[in-house]
Symmetry: C2
């Protein structure tokens, strides 16, 4: 049976939303790295929606759940299994899960081909043999699946969000998977599913891309890849996916030393920097340098309309910011055009003098310009037909000085809620997106109140559909990724 | 009198450490943007060491200080003046300060050549004429001077550190000056002097570089430049400086639009991207993209010995980190060589199994490896003669999970103090520097305790001489700047 035929038959619904879930290898005495019990704790903390059947040959119980001594003892069929037993016991456990009717299993255990030993490779082959009989496998040597809708979670993830969203993430690295899931929680990325597939003995980039291409829940695909197994199939799968939705790829192991590491990490083949660049460009996938850039690109894809934003207006305070903004925009092929004369004059009438400028970048001159004035500035600038998108660099952190003078907490003094509300309204009414940069140069022990206020502010902006970045340069880079993707996609569709 | 002759005579000691300081334009009714009164408040908060003489034509008083109605009314001589009156009144105020014997003045007021008007240019010329009679001027259109040793501070800077250190910063932008001063406070950059010189009517890049080149307090010079006045003089001054100490330059306005902005911001000439790159490379100045990179480069220059670090050992957790580390190191021309066999074996004997690796990057496999084990790992790896420098990517944020289980605050559970102490000892004993990366993917409203713990941890590491970065890629980029500078300097000195 070809991979494609098998995929058609794969019941991903039962894998991502299992009603009956076995955890094989739940030891309360710290064995097998405590992965099984860690996962049980995590699933309970996440309020996983299905029924859990823990398995431990010694029996026992935890948090109200009795442990089954054997997989075979579980009453009835299971949908999915989490396997966390010692490597040598994995093939047998997987076979037992298959016989119990599981559509799939994730194998958290390490000790397979990544060791580079014959024994490890043989054990991984045995996994593949069982899988071929009719159970799909995620892993081994992985952190599993995170699916907010069902409450499945990654290995050290008892505190991930249950809010579903459009971002899927496929990762050969468990660390990257859990890091992105955590970043998403505060950055405002919500996930359809995050899959850490480790060595990828069975399910890996090609099958998963093919699935996600047609998954209605998924609007954006992120990938952390170290190597691929079948170049042609990958090329077809990613091409098919990018025709429908953006795919953002972080390829690790592009250096010589990095490639050596890839072999020992997930036992897959690397490939040169140039080959990857050219292939990814050819299929209109977005290549990024690191997880930070990947998260920021996904954020822009989530929050911005599906189009190209050529001309920006940028609102901030201070002349150097304007200079920086223009440099960054030009670096990424965008423009910051001077506003039309009448609009510029209207903007200038709104702003404190001297020191302000209504040209574009718009310099509001001081950090305490009231939200309702800022709202008018953005509303006015949006009326310039040149402008596709607006960026506001918020200076909220400066309210610390005012808070200190008033003897009040900064979160009470900085008008972040009002600003978010008003700017949310402008974006909606004008139909032109607003991107927010929450700048902050104060992050020390004495200024954690600023960090807290900005975390609260971020949430307010996100709730109103405004994406938030830490830094202007990063915001513009992320917008550029959106431009690159839709420019090419529009060209291809013509 | 040539600029050089004048500089020789300039009494910088009286400018940076004034015993008697006038603030001209201290209005308590919000006039002239409140700069004067803001500065008075700031200086008092900073416990400025000298005597302050506020001047306001209407008289009045504030916080125990009586205002003089005229500069002439101040008894005796003054050393330095802060001028914050309306632009049209500036030349006269400056002349009065000169007559009072001031060695220099900073002019915070805006409304000069940056307006692009004839009137503005004329007014600035008048400043220059007064200066030529024998008073050095910083500004106009600037945020002034920050000098931790004397307590002089920048405009919105009542909360800067009084801790002196080796970093000087020259900035055409006031915003960049205050931002770097704030960043320095938590990043561990201590300053000799920060000078925001705005339009630079008198003192600017050339004079200030010439001064800093010979300033015993200054070991590293950072610059934010938009444009220069005299290319040849700048070339000579920066060359002379880099022969003695590193100079890190962020050049704003390299794009076409950015250059337009430069003209209106500080009324100086820009110059093409390529020209700047080649000039800066030729004089062995380090060019950076933004203030973030500038701060990180300065941090590396502050904390690392004056040499080239070709081969790194990197200690972290997780396979992808190793891949990323190798990619980043190779990007910047550094190596992460496999450790010698006996050393690798010793390291592996220290680490939990399975999942760890002693090759290099060293994968410690889990985030809860005890500080004393980590200390032994770094001590052992340092014994490999290949290794010039070690980087540890700390996983302290993972202690949140443990803190939650124990029902304790993370700052009590995460062993950051012990880790800082032990690693500080390893760096000292081995003579090989250790760079710390405090990674953290959790920054949301629910995880501010992690942010706080890491801010405390950062302080502990810094106190023991270990520089801290947020991100591995940024750390390696900063080390590379140190390498670039000393490689070329050693070559030149041979």
């Amino acid at each position: 049976m070809s991979a494609k035929e098998q995929q058609k038959r794969t019941d991903f619904e039962r894998i991502f939303h299992p009603q009956r879930l076995a955890i094989v290898g739940v030891s309360t005495d710290g064995g097998a790295r405590g992965f099984g019990i860690g996962m049980l704790v995590g699933l309970q903390a996440m309020k996983f929606e299905g029924e859990i059947f823990p398995v431990n040959p010694k029996g026992g119980n935890y948090a109200g759940l009795n442990f089954y001594k054997k997989i075979e003892d579980i009453p009835g069929q299971i949908d999915f299994a989490i396997i966390a037993v010692a490597a040598k016991d994995v093939p047998q456990a997987l076979e037992a899960c298959r016989k119990k009717g599981a559509a799939g299993a994730e194998i958290l255990s390490a000790g397979f081909s990544e060791l580079g030993t014959e024994e490890g490779k043989l054990l991984e082959n045995k996994i593949r043999e069982v899988a071929a009989k009719g159970i799909r496998v995620v892993g081994p040597n992985c952190f599993g699946i995170y699916c907010p809708r069902s409450g499945l979670t990654l290995l050290p993830g008892p505190d991930l969000s249950r809010q579903s969203g459009p971002v899927a993430f496929l990762s050969q690295s468990g660390g990257m998977a859990i890091d992105l899931a955590h970043k998403g929680k505060w950055m405002g990325l919500n996930f359809s599913k995050v899959i850490s597939f480790g060595n990828g003995a069975d399910l890996r980039e090609v099958d998963l891309l093919n699935y996600l291409a047609d998954d209605a829940e998924t609007g954006i695909v992120g990938m952390y890849m170290e190597g691929i197994k079948d170049g042609d199939a990958f090329f077809q799968a990613i091409k098919k996916t990018t025709e429908k939705k953006p795919v953002v790829v972080c390829k690790g192991g592009l250096s010589a030393a990095g490639q050596r590491m890839v072999v020992s990490h997930t036992a897959s083949m690397g490939g040169s920097r140039l080959i990857w660049q050219s292939v990814l460009r050819q299929v209109n996938a977005i290549q990024v340098q690191d997880l930070e850039e990947l998260a920021e690109a996904c954020l822009a894809f989530c929050f911005l309309p599906q189009k190209v934003f050529q001309r920006l207006s940028i609102v901030g305070g201070g002349g150097a910011l304007g200079v920086t903004a223009c440099d960054a925009a030009e670096n990424f092929g965008m423009e910051v055009p001077p506003l039309a004369k009448n609009i510029r004059e209207s903007v200038e009438n709104l702003l404190p003098k001297p020191g302000s400028s209504g040209t574009n970048p718009i310099d509001v001159a001081n950090p305490f310009v009231e939200p309702k004035i800022l709202k008018e500035v953005l509303r006015t600038a949006a009326a310039d037909e040149q402008i596709d998108l607006q960026i506001i660099v918020s200076l909220l952190y400066h309210y610390k000085t005012m808070a200190r003078m008033l003897g009040k907490p900064i979160a009470q003094v900085a008008p972040y809620r009002e600003l978010a509300e008003l700017l949310g309204g402008v974006a909606k009414d004008s139909g032109k997106p607003i991107v927010v940069v929450l700048a902050n140069s104060k992050r020390g022990v004495d200024d954690l109140d600023i960090v807290e206020m900005l975390a609260l502010a971020r949430r307010e902006f996100l709730e109103r559909g405004l994406p938030v970045f830490d830094d202007l340069h990063e915001a513009i880079r992320a917008i550029n990724h959106v431009n690159t993707y839709y420019e090419k996609r529009q060209k291809n569709e013509r």
